[in-house]
């Protein structure tokens, strides 16, 4: 009896396989592929996934035309997934993580008729491939605005007598001590300083992009050091939830945390990838050129702020943000205006492993930055080659889309360093 049942089952399943195979022959419709490091449970990747879906919807693409591959490691798996997507007929393939870059370039060299786009990468402008492109956004503008909201909150605390002007110290939980994070916290600090001139900041790094326990511990340490407001550049809920528990105001990142932190969440900045996805999807569809190095800005909607939480934010925050945003867009405010910060240069002491601080910078008698040679061409030498200070400002994201501001400015104390 069992034997007969088995045979029947086998035949039924084989028949269904055959039927499906016949139905599954490939179609020639336009397709794009998206490669993500993690899946939607990571706020970082989810930001890309949702943006790709939204952009496709706005362009009238069907779900079946956008193939999203999640959980693709930063090794040969990335190249193989890109190849798989190219074989499926994708005309544009996008990858979302820094470590994917080399494998995307490898695939781009092999499939010259497919467009390869990569977020956060640095090599497109030196590789000079017609079908390989980098993208990032001037998120420092968003963080500057978030900093404005933080400054407003500090001023409110000073006015209420909760703290003195000297006690206006913020804490920042960072992932790694490198340009993307340094550029982020510096712009946040400068935004706050533009509102509350006496503000100082302490930064603690976790050495990971996603570690709930470490981020929570870092936030708690900063609060125990009398930081009265916390912000972060890491992807877990560790820092925001620690703030909610302690009742310390928090400026978030990647998206609103108001549901989990109704009493302490002020505002959050994030990169909105929809404009870029629309650009590359449309370009791939129409066969038009894609910029080699694309920097989304606050003006084109690539950098956005969430709604301000009026429960936690100071009164008038939303209006102030709107006002500063307009000035950023018309160019009257420059985030890295060299008049707004000072830089201390520490030459190497001669001890092994001590390379000094800000040695690529030149400053005038008032410690204002006059020149900075940044490592824009990321050739693995970690040696700068491009002058990035001009017209009284540090030109972030001008020579390539990925951030390269890595100056340690005065007023910010790094508690540790995680490379």
């Amino acid at each position: 009896m069992k034997k007969i049942l088995t045979i029947i089952l086998v035949i039924a399943i084989l028949a269904s396989f055959a039927a499906v195979f016949a139905a599954c022959s490939g179609s020639d419709e336009f397709k794009v592929g998206i490669i993500c490091l993690h899946d939607e449970s990571s706020t970082y990747d989810n930001n890309f996934i949702q943006a790709a879906k939204d952009a496709a919807k706005e362009l009238g693409l069907k779900d079946s035309q956008v193939i999203i591959k999640t959980g693709i490691d930063e090794d040969t798996a990335c190249y193989e997934t890109a190849k798989e997507l190219a074989e499926m007929g994708c005309k544009m393939i996008f990858a979302d993580s820094f470590g994917h870059e080399k494998y995307m370039i490898q695939a781009a060299k092999e499939y010259t008729d497919v467009q390869f786009c990569h977020a956060t990468g640095t090599k497109a402008h030196t590789e000079k491939l017609a079908n390989y492109h980098n993208a990032f956004a001037s998120i420092y503008e968003g963080r500057y605005l978030a900093g404005v909201a933080a400054g407003m909150k500090l001023n409110e605390m000073i006015a209420a007598g909760t703290i003195t002007a000297e006690q206006a110290k913020m804490g920042y939980v960072g992932a790694y001590t490198y340009a993307e994070v340094i550029s982020g916290y510096t712009s946040f600090y400068l935004g706050a300083k533009s509102i509350c001139p006496s503000v100082t900041m302490e930064v603690q790094f976790t050495g990971s992009w996603f570690d709930i326990a470490l981020e929570k511990a870092a936030a708690e340490n900063l609060m125990s050091r009398n930081c009265v407001l916390i912000s972060q550049h890491a992807d877990s809920m560790g820092a925001p939830s620690a703030c909610e528990l302690a009742g310390v105001p928090n400026v978030s990142y990647n998206g609103s945390t108001i549901k989990a932190c109704p009493n302490t969440f002020i505002v959050a900045s994030r990169i909105n990838w929809v404009p870029y996805f629309k650009l590359i999807m449309k370009a791939a569809q129409d066969g038009t050129a894609i910029p080699t190095d694309y920097t989304g800005t606050i003006a084109d909607g690539s950098v956005v702020l969430t709604d301000v939480n009026t429960t936690a934010a100071a009164a008038g925050t939303a209006d102030k943000i709107a006002e500063v945003k307009a000035k950023l867009m018309d160019g009257t405010i420059n985030v890295f205006d060299t008049n707004t910060f000072t830089v201390t240069i520490v030459p190497p002491s001669g001890a092994e492993g001590d390379f000094g601080t800000n040695t690529s910078a030149t400053v005038d008698a008032n410690k204002k930055l006059t020149s900075y040679i940044a490592d824009v061409d990321d050739l693995g030498d970690y040696i700068g080659e491009t002058e990035v200070v001009a017209d009284g400002a540090f030109k972030e994201s001008k020579f390539r889309s990925a951030p390269y501001f890595d100056i340690k400015i005065d007023g910010i104390t790094l508690l540790n360093s995680k490379m």
Partner: protein, 410 residues
């Protein structure tokens, strides 16, 4: 009346099956595998409204859709198979080596050390040779440390090998921080120390190595003195000692063999496939390998098929999820887990049957005899360990003593 209550038998008991035909277990296995696929189809249909027939279609296209996908599947199968081959001799010896992950990582790490520091300075052929030797040493040392402790001080190898995994991961993370100061935790792949590509891609090398190693391991376990010693030590250490086998030596030697295979795997992962190393280079396959090995009853040829099943399910479910726009991995993991639970469960029911308490008083005697008859059969001793005989519920003390004796004899 009161007496009867005292000796009341439990609701159900497990009894070892005896005298079953050779083909019946295979029918049960095949039916189980097929019904686990049916279940996957039904669950996906319920969760995402996907026509179950399409589910199987996607699984097939995901695994075998193009020549490239077939080759990639075979390569992944080969790598998983190598992991499984590495854990097998230790497991057969009842040395619970759950450290294949760390042993492969150390092999990969040592290989990467050579490529990183010697790449471009010595000829590629020499570099590959040096990295291979380093990888073998790395894997072997990482495996032999817990073996030495086990042989010398009888430490718990399960915990020891598990902890060694974390040490290996931390060593790699530390090295990456030194090698790649850009701060993103990613080591850019090296241009040096690439294994020659056979047929233009990196697939064949791993496949060929895995095939050769499978044949060698099969021979080693079945036809050599070493293999016999492993079997004897696994069945009973006391017997092994009695017939003059140096158990400590066998443990250490076997773990060196395990470690060397892990070293080869690590070498393939770095020099043949990724050209870089990260904490996820082994990707959890050191643990999946245990499933692969065990399901195949430690038979290297059988592991080809169990690896195929694992890799097919993984690639297949990936495709099902991708093609239906699902951007999380929870569902496919749950479904894969359920499928394997069924398959493992079926092994249990092939070996044991459940006897429920019958309502009539007389029948209480019958199962006791049956269970008694089942004793002496030595199939899947590990499972038998977990279900001590229950034939004499009236005299618990005596029963425990008896089963203790049995355990010692084993």
């Amino acid at each position: 009346m009161t007496e009867q209550k005292k000796i009341r038998e439990p609701l159900f008991r497990l009894v070892k099956r005896t005298n079953q035909s050779a083909w019946l277990p295979w029918v049960v296995r095949i039916v189980t595998v097929l019904s686990s696929f049916v279940l996957i189809g039904i669950l996906t249909w319920i969760a995402y409204g996907v026509n179950p027939l399409n589910v199987y279609g996607y699984m097939l296209t995901g695994a075998f859709g193009t020549k490239f996908k077939i080759m990639r599947l075979l390569r992944d199968l080969a790598i998983l198979l190598l992991f499984a081959l590495a854990v097998t001799p230790a497991f057969k010896m009842k040395f619970w080596n759950i450290g294949a992950e760390g042993q492969v990582l150390m092999g990969a790490f040592c290989c990467m050390v050579c490529i990183f520091y010697l790449g471009g300075k010595i000829p590629n052929g020499l570099l590959l040779l040096v990295s291979l030797i380093a990888a073998l040493l790395g894997g072997a040392i990482w495996a032999v440390i817990p073996a030495l402790f086990k042989a010398k001080w009888n430490t718990n190898e399960t915990l020891f090998t598990l902890m060694m995994n974390y040490v290996a991961i931390q060593i790699i993370l530390y090295a990456i921080k030194i090698w790649a100061p850009s701060g993103t935790g990613i080591l850019t792949p090296s241009d040096f120390g690439h294994l020659p590509k056979i047929g233009g891609d990196n697939f064949w090398f791993s496949i060929i190595v895995a095939l050769v190693m499978t044949a060698l391991m099969f021979t080693y376990l079945r036809y050599t003195k070493h293999g016999y010693e492993i079997t004897v030590v696994g069945e009973s250490e006391n017997t092994a000692r009695y017939i003059g086998i140096n158990v400590k030596k066998v443990i250490i030697r076997t773990l060196i063999v395990s470690g060397i295979i892990c070293g080869i795997t690590g070498f393939l992962l770095v020099a043949g496939i990724n050209h870089t190393v990260s904490s996820t280079t082994a990707g959890g396959r050191g643990f999946t390998a245990i499933l692969v090995s065990w399901l195949a009853k430690f038979n290297p040829i059988g592991m080809i098929f169990t690896s195929l099943l694992v890799v097919f399910l993984s690639k297949g479910m990936d495709e099902v999820m991708t093609m239906n726009g699902v951007t999380n991995s929870f569902f496919s993991q749950v479904v894969t887990g359920v499928a394997f639970l069924m398959i493992i469960g079926c092994e249990f029911f092939i070996n044991y049957k459940i006897i429920f308490r019958s309502r009539s008083e007389k029948s209480a005697v019958a199962p006791v005899q049956e269970a008694g008859a089942a004793e002496g059969s030595d199939e899947t001793p590990a499972l038998a360990d977990t279900t001590p005989p229950e034939e004499a519920p009236q005299t618990p003390a005596e029963d425990v003593a008896a089963s203790d004796d049995a355990a010692k004899e084993e």
